[in-house]
Amino acid sequence: MMESPTTPVRTPTAEMRPKIAVINLWKSFQGKEVLRGINLDIHPGESLVIVGGSGAGKSVFLKHLIGLIQPDRGHVIVDGEDLACADTGVCLAIRRKFGMSFQEGALFDSMNVFDNIAFPLRRHTRMSPGDVAARVRECLALVHLDGVEHKWVNELSGGMRRRVGFARAIALAPEILLFDEPNTGLDPITAAAIDRVIVEMRDNLPVTMVTITHDMKSAQRIADRIAMLRAGQILAVAPPDEFVRLSDRYIQSFLAGEPYPDNHEEVA
């Protein structure tokens, strides 16, 4: 493969090239620093879970990975291509590798559930209507939603919306999946079903996944590595079994669900 001259420093070395390389990422909104120098390599085929306090910048970070937000400083490099340097055509091609589910669903409210999930299939493939319908039903079944195809988005509960968003994200079976709190606010059984979908994809498909969650149990189940985001920086990255043994006080409070003395710093 040819390396374009704009490709920055990170070229494949002896070890595997990261699927997504995040280099010194900074972002502030109206003078408030949200991300403060994040460095993180996401390996091909791994399932990375990001945890962190509410407002720590997890969603903002996830949106940087797919170029929905441009960083003030730093780079996001997907398969060796810098999202910031890529021109529009390349950018669309890079984005086609992604599927993303949003924290609030972000479903198209001018369409029903079926059309929402069928949207990426119709847009990017030449599947026949029959195949599209079959795939839509398959994805809905995975998230335990049957018989809602013809409901409108405003007729769904919050949890149903999130699951439809999840189904829409996986419909095209993309190379990289980003999930923003896919199982928050779901009952334990449905949440476990979502976890199982993620685990099955992790084990059977060559897909790279980044999932945000607040639920440490679910993080343990689905993660190859867990990263803790705090005050705009990566506090720690470790495989689940190591992660729970980390001695950092904030992480221990987080795991135990205890109040942390100066937690207000993040809320400010």
Binding site: K63, I66, G67, L68, T88, L92, A93, R95, R96, F98, G99, M100, F102, E104, A106, L107, F108, D109, F119, P120, R123, H124, G165, L178
Partner: protein, 265 residues
Amino acid sequence: MSAPASRRRPIAALEWLGERSTHAFEEIGRFFTMLYLTLYWAVRPPFDLRQWVRQMVRVGVDSIPVVGLTAMFTGMVMALQTYRGFERFHAESFVASVVSLSLTRELAPVLAALMIAGRIGSSLAAELGTMRVTEQIDALQAMAVEPVQYLVVPRVAATTLMLPPLVALADGIGIAGGFGVAVGLMDANPVVYWEKTFQFLDLNDVFSGLIKAAVFGLILSVTGCSKGFHTTGGAEGVGRSTTAAVVMASLVILLSDFFLTKILF
């Protein structure tokens, strides 16, 4: 900048002025960026004909009643007013010419565009603004769909293409309204009135009105879309964008009307 201390009033005023003009330049920049992006994506596949048709129905067909009513009453009141005025120097026979000329060249395009700015410009801003604050536009981008191409191009194209036919219709209805008032209320001779209507009316008058209409359609739809696209701040932000879209589009329509008239005649 609220109530500055009187000592610092000049500085505060300058600050205020600076802020306002920065804001204005930002708006102008956004407008032309959106215009450029729309043209850029309009000529690139995929072409979504279904969307185009849907938007054309929404803009064109659904606007017929409001544009028709506006035109009819404008034509009627024009006839009434000019008749009263021209009576004073016995020039009643020119009422028909004045009504048809002012309608086709000026009133039908501008009034129709203002009505559509209220109807369509606002709904574009509200629709795209809602999609922005509920992250639907982000979702489109995440699915490798260019939102300007998918959302803005069909809406701008439909508005630009549908305004000329709407204005042509308004021309006809307005002239008929004038005819009705003149003949029905003012006892004008129908045959003479009809003749006078077209005596001085040039095809160019009609065309210049239709060109104006297309430009107004472009302006109001790009304004609405750009306002919607740059919405921030939840439901309240959508409300702000909607109002701003109508106000801005109306002002720019009136402003550009002057220059277009200067250029086109």
